[in-house]
């Protein structure tokens, strides 16, 4: 009786995968997250390289074409603003500022937070208590007032805005990493490292921080949209990036004042900001699912 007998053992086709690779494989299966990655990359490339294809910058006015309407085949594809500056270029240049502050701010705030939290969690005891109380005190300050005070202290402008954002946003990663570090500090491999004579600083950098990395990546990816939103919000209120330098926040502010007459000035920067924020949040979502399947 003929029968199909399948081989008893399927030959191992895939090589053993590391945790990280498994995680990225899971991430890649998330279509929404992957689409967001492509779209975000496109927007970032457009913001940084797009303006090079135009013979003028966002601070050059074309007084013959003030308030030009959308005309995709003219030199000003999305028209110009009330001063004859090309709207598309201004939005792209505003994107450069917003995205740079967003990623750089998240990186710096995350970096400070991770080191601070890891140190506090590892050392424990009184120092930990003191460091965490300090974080709580800083949490207690009203955010907007703190930003206004800091921008007065730094004299306004992009640098002070950046400082203010970092100053207020490093707190949450510090708390999250500190909790992680506290549990890690009791684990055997840390005790082994300590018994082996590693100094506290090296243990924090070589063992604690790398073991927190998945939490940090997930949280950090949520931090980026938060920073971008803060920047736009503060620039919208007029205490962030100042004219003539563009950022999405102050472009939207100009757009809202002309809302009833010319919606274009609001829709272009507003739409781009919303798209970027959606993308970043989908990516963060995808990362969280990939790194921590239990958490779904």
């Amino acid at each position: 009786m003929p029968s199909d007998i399948s081989p008893p053992f399927a030959a191992p086709t895939a090589e053993p995968a590391s945790t990280l690779r498994l995680q990225f494989r899971r991430f890649r299966k998330n279509r929404l997250a992957m689409a967001s990655v492509y779209l975000l990359t496109l927007i970032v490339l457009m913001c940084f390289f797009g303006p090079m294809f135009f013979p003028f910058t966002g601070e050059d006015a074309d007084f013959d074409n003030i308030g030009a309407p959308v005309n995709l085949f003219s030199i000003h594809p999305f028209g110009t603003d009330d001063y004859g500056r090309d709207l598309f270029i201004r939005v792209l240049e505003g994107g450069q500022v917003s995205l740079t502050i967003g990623f750089l701010g998240a990186l710096v705030a995350g970096g400070i937070g991770v080191l601070y939290g890891a140190a506090a969690g590892y050392v424990g005891g009184r120092l930990d208590g003191f460091m965490m109380r300090l974080v709580e005190v800083l949490y207690g300050f009203p955010y907007v007032i703190l930003v206004i005070l800091l921008s007065l202290l730094f004299g306004g402008g992009t640098v002070s805005l950046f400082a203010a954002i970092v100053f207020t946003l490093w707190l949450t990663p510090a708390v999250i990493v500190r909790a992680q570090a506290q549990s890690l500090a009791q684990r055997e491999f840390i005790q082994a490292a300590r018994a082996g004579g590693m100094t506290g600083g090296r243990i924090v950098l070589q063992h604690i921080v790398p073991n927190c990395v998945s939490v940090v990546i997930v949280y950090g990816s949520l931090l980026v949209p938060e920073v971008i939103l803060s920047e736009s919000f503060l620039s919208f209120l007029g205490i962030g990036v100042k004219e003539p330098q563009a950022s999405w926040g102050n472009l939207i502010q100009v757009g809202t004042s002309a809302m009833s007459t010319d919606l274009r000035l609001l829709l272009l920067p507003g739409g781009l900001l919303a798209t970027v924020l959606f993308c970043l949040n989908f990516i963060a979502d995808g990362l969280r699912d990939a790194f921590d399947p239990n958490d779904r």
Partner: protein, 530 residues
């Protein structure tokens, strides 16, 4: 009325929440006033919007009726001597302060001496020694004497004020209103000092209204003064002046019926509003000139080439017609443009086309040592009013495009902007002046170094030319001399003329009696509510 400044809007920290409430049909006239009042001291106030409150609360020897015409005020009649040097004002019988005390001629004499007293720190003293030259006023102002009996303003009896001039002044009456000359209620000033003016429980006024409520960053409430001589003809019981920092918010409040008269109109809404509510959009000529002053204490601005280049690189037609779009008339002169009879000079380079001016401006800038490798970096200090910001941004873009100048625009609230003028922090000042009357002299007398030392401009030739103009009694020959003085001013390029501004406001159909006034006087006592 000399008004330096007109400012509003700060999208940021300006927290003026709408405390409007229902304003409809409650007998209260609700008026927007832009930024907060700078001060309520009537002898110090120098900004136009606060001037409106002042005109309602106080009354000078004369008053400005509907359309800004001169009508008898505290004085019922007046006469002038043949030579035009002595003017006698006869006060009405039974004039009273708002607290019922009698108002006497000496109160007006005290007003002039208080304004001139250097301790008062008032910018308005120049009215009395530069715009008109009252005998002894200059000596009191510069501290040569403190003896007020040397002043040419006297009160021979309780109902007569006599003003003696060194030179004839055909425009004297325009300076006898409340903005320039509010009487002083000496008992309250002695009792509480200058704090009395801003405190509703202490302030005593003599105008159609009394100050009842002062809420910083919110509003000032005026109530009809029963002791005013013409109270029977004051129709509106209460007037409320609201701080309306942001012009877009002000428009919304007007549309919601919270305001009856606005301070300004958002410039990008003018066309739409004209189509929608044409009978409520009021745009009228005014005596408000705007110009950019250069800080002559800064080394780069001591070079006339730099000043000329900056003045020439501004394309005034494009600025007004395409960028600001607020209905202002581009101007190339300082004092011309409000009086058709005055035939004044234009800025040097006026005869060239804009292209030629821009080409020459580039050469001048290069001659001054600035170029692409060494760009000039300057700041512009302006109020945050929408139209002021548009001018500043437009000018900055033109400077960048034509000359490669990098401009930092520093917008501030009206009060801060007024104070900033007396610091040395600014390079270019977004300046403005509202003439007290539609003539060249109101502007030119302000530019005398003795009248406004803040410009740091020293020109004996200008002073001499103004002195010559002051001696002419008839307007035509006076204007000829004034034009010579203006030429000296314009040739020195200490300022870049920008425009002659219109008066813009939204006036509800409920308000009757709103007649355009070139000098910006719209006293509430002549308005009626339906």
């Amino acid at each position: 009325m000399k008004m330096k400044g007109i400012g509003l809007l700060l999208a940021s920290a300006a927290l003026s929440f709408g405390l409007g409430g229902a304003a409809m049909a409650d007998g209260v006239l609700d008026r927007g006033m832009g930024s907060e009042w700078s001060t309520l001291d009537p002898h110090v106030v120098f900004d136009g919007a606060t001037g409106w409150i002042l005109m309602d609360a106080y009354e000078g020897l004369i008053n400005f009726g509907p359309g800004g015409t001169i009508v008898p005020g505290a004085a019922e009649r007046w006469e002038s001597s043949e030579d035009g040097l002595t003017h006698t004002f006869h006060l009405r019988e039974g004039l009273k302060w708002s607290n019922g005390e009698p108002l006497v001629a000496q109160d007006f004499v005290n007003a002039v001496s208080r304004t001139l007293n250097p301790d008062t720190i008032s910018e308005k003293g120049y009215y009395f020694y530069s715009t008109v030259s009252i005998t002894g006023a200059a000596a009191l102002a510069n501290g040569e004497t403190t003896d007020v009996s040397t002043l040419g303003v006297t009160a021979p009896d309780d109902r007569t004020v006599v003003i003696t001039l060194d030179n004839p002044a055909p425009h004297l009456l325009y300076l006898m209103g409340a903005f320039q000359m509010s009487p002083v209620h000496s008992p309250s000033l002695e009792a509480s000092g200058t704090a009395a003016f801003g405190d509703p429980t202490k302030v005593v006024t003599n105008g159609a209204y009394a100050i009842k409520e002062v809420v910083p960053q919110s509003h000032i409430l005026l109530e009809k003064n029963p002791n005013y001589w013409d109270a029977a003809n004051v129709s509106i019981e209460k007037v409320k002046y609201y701080v309306t920092e942001d012009v877009a918010t002000e428009l919304k409040r007007f549309q919601a019926g919270e305001l009856d008269i606005t301070y300004d109109i958002p410039v990008n809404q003018i066309e739409a509003l004209k189509a929608e509510i044409p009978d409520q959009v009021m745009i009228a000529p005014s005596t408000y000139v705007s110009f950019y002053s250069f800080n002559l204490t800064k080394p780069e601005f001591q070079d006339i080439n730099v000043r000329t280049a900056l003045a020439w690189a501004i394309n005034r037609e494009v600025l007004q017609e395409k960028i600001v779009k607020g209905g202002a008339t581009p101007s190339y002169a300082f004092a011309g443009g409000v009086d058709p009879e005055y035939n004044g000079p234009q800025m040097p380079g006026f005869e060239l086309s804009q292209e030629e001016r821009e080409a020459k401006a580039k050469e001048l800038m290069a001659a001054a040592g600035f170029g692409p490798d060494n760009p000039l970096k300057i700041n512009v200090v302006t109020t945050v009013a929408e139209d002021r910001m548009r001018i500043a941004q437009g000018v900055a873009l033109m400077w960048k495009q034509v000359l490669g100048v990098e401009t930092d625009i520093r917008g501030m609230e009206r009060k801060a902007w007024l104070d900033e003028f007396y610091t040395t922090n600014w390079d270019v000042f977004s300046d403005g002046l509202i003439g007290d009357f539609a003539g060249a002299e109101t502007f030119l007398s302000y530019m005398r170094p003795s009248a406004e030392p803040g410009y740091n401009w020293v020109s004996p030739e200008y002073d001499a030319a103004m002195d010559v103009a002051g001696t002419k009694a008839d307007k035509a020959s006076r204007d000829v001399e004034l034009a010579k003085a203006e030429k000296i001013l314009l040739d020195d390029m200490t300022l870049a003329p920008i425009a002659v501004e219109p008066m813009r406001a939204l006036v509800s159909t409920k308000v009757n009696g709103w007649i355009p006034s070139a000098t910006g006087y719209y006293n509430s006592q002549y308005l009626r509510l339906e």
